[in-house]
Symmetry: C2
Subunit: 243 residues, 2 copies
DNA sequence: GCAAAAGTGTTCGGAGTACACCCATGT
DNA sequence: ACATGGGTGTACTCCGAACACTTTTGC
């Protein structure tokens, strides 16, 4: 594989829901000097350059696969970042110099976000030093990654309001309470259980299964699945330009 | 001004409404051989490379200004295009070679769309060979510009459904019938006049003026303005994830 | 006076919201 | 038996949709 250009990279904001909180997958970054003394340590989002002949969508898929071992995950391109100073913080310049890269070169980064259930990911995959961090506990990240993360969150909240993607953060089979929790956590609000269920019962693409939860210490809930087929057949334009 | 990189460009899809149709601003492209014989002629969107130290937003503003002489126009970044074959059509390769550029170099293009009233634009500005073309009459464009245009349209329709941007396509002062027409044309549908007016009357940021149309051969309509201040103060999150 | 678009109210059905209790399971 | 979350219905309000006539201007 030939790297296509040093100037262009794809960054993936990988969101994972664990039935409690919304998390983002971050990678450790530690810079040590020649004697092995740690100069600093922090975390980054996951990015990479694109290869020659590779589409950016394919690059995003590849980055996601390298980190999680997963394919066919919801991925959405949400914004491109190119501010001239985006790599200019002191630690970032040291890091790039150490890596034999030119810190004064501007890198354009195309941002994607991914949605998945943390259940699906084995963090030991390929031995990368990676972990889930709740989005409201993320500290100062490398480069402009705090900006990229907050823009990804904004874009994801906007999409989830207008398109059915909530279950992308859940296992294939899920309960309505889990789905409700997804919306409550992401939109930072609460819903009435009966009203929520009345609402989703109108969504024909949310298919009830003849299957129930097992091994829970309460009445087991019915499981549901999303049917993309039904969704594609029933979606229609909606006019709602009041804000 | 130093060009920052040959690899990166910003393309602007400039939409203009003329009270009848939605138009896009296109530039003539004609390639002639050494003897002056025309090899082909077609049209392109407007793009340019970014300058060193220039943000992409500033580059988009600059491109728009160069073409229209206008500033402070609604501009939204909607997608980035980087397909390896995006410059590979026969005519495009000839054009790039003639321009001393390498047609095998992949160029990443960051797409913005602009919204304005065609009234605001003097096409003779800077003598560029530029014209308004109704979006439903656009033929085959250069490069992947048909794709960029259709993605811009998709993004614009999505934004207009969820945010109040319809009046960006109108003069500063406009009538409710003009606003209705904007939505009807862009969403390719029709609305009942009374229902439409009931709906917009709930939008406090649409401010009625003590001013009426003049010189029209019918009852003159009241003029309205958009108040960004009121909008910013009243907007709140809306939950609507049914599609 | 006529052509052209402005402006205005009511009825109906369906969705949003608020609210409280019994049920099935594991321990 | 008890703790835990699952699952259900009703009343009220507000929005969306359908629908027709009078008013003001220029010519």
């Amino acid at each position: 594989m030939v790297k296509y250009s040093d100037y262009i990279s794809v960054d993936c904001v990988i969101f994972g829901f664990d039935f409690e909180k919304l998390n983002v997958l971050l990678v450790d970054r530690t810079l040590s000097d020649a004697k092995g003394n740690e100069l600093f340590t922090d975390m980054t989002l996951t990015g990479n350059h694109i290869y020659e002949g590779e589409t950016i969508q394919a690059a995003a898929d590849r980055i996601l696969f390298d980190l999680t071992g997963l394919k066919n995950i919801y991925l959405e391109q949400f914004r491109t970042f190119a501010h001239p100073d985006r790599l200019n913080k002191e630690n970032d310049r040291k890091w790039l110099l150490h890596d034999n890269r030119d810190p004064d070169k501007r890198i354009v980064s195309i941002g994607y976000f991914a949605l998945l259930s943390t259940q699906k990911v084995t963090l030991e995959w390929k031995g990368r030093n990676v972990k889930w961090v709740p989005v409201d506990e993320v500290g100062e990240l490398a480069f402009d990654h705090n900006l990229i993360l907050s823009e990804a969150l904004k874009a994801m909240r906007s999409t989830i309001l207008h398109e059915p993607i909530g279950f992308e953060l859940l296992p294939t089979k899920f309960t309505l309470s889990q789905l409700q929790k997804v919306y409550e956590i992401i939109l930072d609000t609460g819903f009435d259980k009966r009203n929520f269920r009345k609402k989703v019962s109108r969504m024909s693409y949310l298919m009830p299964l003849d299957e129930k939860q097992k091994g829970v210490a309460h009445k087991p809930a019915r499981l549901y699945m999303f049917s993309r087929e039904v969704y594609e057949n029933t979606k229609k334009e909606i006019l709602n330009f009041i804000v």
